[in-house]
Amino acid sequence: MFYREAGDYKTSYAQDNQTFPIAFDRYRYYFVVAVGFALLPFVMTDYLANAILLPFLIYAIAAIGLNILVGYCGQVSLGTGGFMAVGAYTSYKLMTAFPWMDMVSVTLLSGLMTAIVGMAFGLPSLRIKGFYLAVATLAAQFFLVWLFNRVPWFFNYSASGQISAPERSMFGWAITGPAANPSVKYLFCLLFVFVLAWLARNLTRGSIGRQWMSIRDMDIAAEIIGVNPLRAKLSAFAVSSFYVGIAGSLFFTVYLGAVEVGASFGIQKSFLVLFMIIIGGLGSIFGSFAGAAFMVLLPVALTRIFADGFGWDTALARHIEFVIVGGLIMFFLIVEPHGLARLWALAKEKLRLWPFPY
């Protein structure tokens, strides 16, 4: 019924290879993109942008980045928070040192800086793997947070150690700072999400992505068939850190505007993003979005329902929320260990056959 392939003829290789080969799926994707770009900016409110959509979009970038490393290349990383901090502090240093620089360049350069740092910390992956690599990246997490706390140059010697984003605008529209319009902030992030997700999807479908996946599945076999593990692993670390760095940069400049490294980029941030991709689905771009939505939106929605809707005590609402989110995580992992992305794929399979399953 839905997602049917009958009559959907492919007449070229390009058509056959497209990301969404089923016409219905493709139109759904166009619809979501159209809603995101053309409808949502016009109904944007401060609350919708600052409390829901900005964190969702930014965490989606971070989740895609981590998914490239963990889900596609099989290198476990617990350093996401630290790498986000690299992105944020690079943005801060660039914005304060070069006030003329536009935000797109600042964000991209922050991503590049993080890619370099990520590659450096990815070097141990050539010798160690699995849990041992996780511990090595954990060291990156703690080292980076310590560094940004310790060296006053990174926070321009401010008394409190906080960094705060000055106002920057593009085409006359403020993007950072308190005066920025929520629609503009949203569109700026959405643009990055759209381009980066598109890029990630195509990277993982191409030869680099196949190298990553062969390393993930069995590194010795991959080496025998001619995959260079040095290049594959380090490129995964670089691309992943690039994404995570951009997420950290946007997190600081557009979303929060002022951060403190210990509170915002601590170990709990690394775990949060890791949970996102585990719940969303390892090795899936859609899963990164689904996981980010799950971890960002669910707590907010539950708080609003329990505390505002039912008028419960806020502490009770928060504790119930812990229970429900924790319970749902366990439920999903037991029922569907491959995450929300797998559920989505199964639903699509079912819908293709519906109403005549066999």
Partner: protein
Amino acid sequence: MKTLATLALGAALAAGPAMADLTFPSLSYRTGPYAANGIPFADGYADYFTLLNERDGGIGGEMANVLECETAYDTERGVECYEATKGEGALVYQPLSTGITYQLIPRASADGIPIHSMGYGRTSAANGSIFEWVFNYPANYWDGASVIINYLLQENEGSLEGRKIVLLYHNSAYGREPIRTLETLAEMHGFELVQLAVDHPGQEQGNQWLQIRRERPDFVIMWGWGVMNQVAVQEAANINFPMNNFYGVWWSGAEPDVLPAGAGADGYRSLNMNALGDLPVLDDIRQYVVDAGLAAGDGTNVGSVLYVRGMYAAMLAAEAARNAQEISGETNITPAMMRDGMESLVITEERMEELGMGGVGPAFEVTCENHGGPGLALIQEWDAEAQVWVTLTDFIAPDDSVIDPLIEEDSAAYAAENNIEPRCNES
């Protein structure tokens, strides 16, 4: 699909209830590592407004409405809470978190909602000519640091020459605030300052106390909060550090901080910006709020250090609202009127007496230039036997000659970063 769902969710949230009352949001934290300190403060804040509603019929005839939102001391949640509550006519924000205050300063300044960070937040916000919407009366961190040093000077015949003082601080914007002041004071009075940072949430302090043992400091000053206080007091007791030489800031001197260490905490000292004791208003709260079953908590916190401080914060907000009503002639005030009310707030001994909390804080006046108040604080000592905080001194004044130039310097840096023209010159 997902975007539609978020859209629907957003629409449902936007159509929340609209309140006509005077709304005082309380960004509280009753969960997480800082809950032990967050709960009594939030209870005191909410109960005082309940008392005003029940006993006096609100403020100037308008009911006060406390909107509580749980932040768990987390900045992202704090921003969510701010965005969720600001549309409900929020008059003043008191986030009780320096990190969240830093987030809210630019946002609230742009939205035109005052912030009152009482004894926390950005210290240089005391300069009202730069920070139009931010207030931190009656005292700030730099005052606190200076008061401790002044007290130590007084105790040690006016000289700290050659002494060694350790600053044990929460490794965040909060804990780092006093460093600059203490460095300046160290140079001035010739003592050696050793800085030891404790990372969030503060449960791991073994190394720091090992180092304190090795350094053999004369005094330890602590800038801690939440679980960090309890662990520090316990660790100090474990290494037999003389508790009389261990001083906490006003956020490190409440009952939950010292009770876990038992008798070992006896003699631990801290600052306080609000006096304790048998305030008549507490009886009113017991009568009208707790016994009527309207208390925000279970009523056991009434009279504790942080409860009284929360109540004191609520009193200052209520008095500012009353002042704003007088200035504007309207009872249903806006955030802008509230700001005017805060900027011309005058707290006198008589007024505090009238409110049933005589001497709870110093008398002070807020002006356009000075949003910071007089900066007075007193020293209290924990009596583990009786389980009470004993007030040792009167309110002690800080060394303004040290702090004022620092405030000037830091606020000027903020003004330059954000292109702010100083106000207050015309009058």
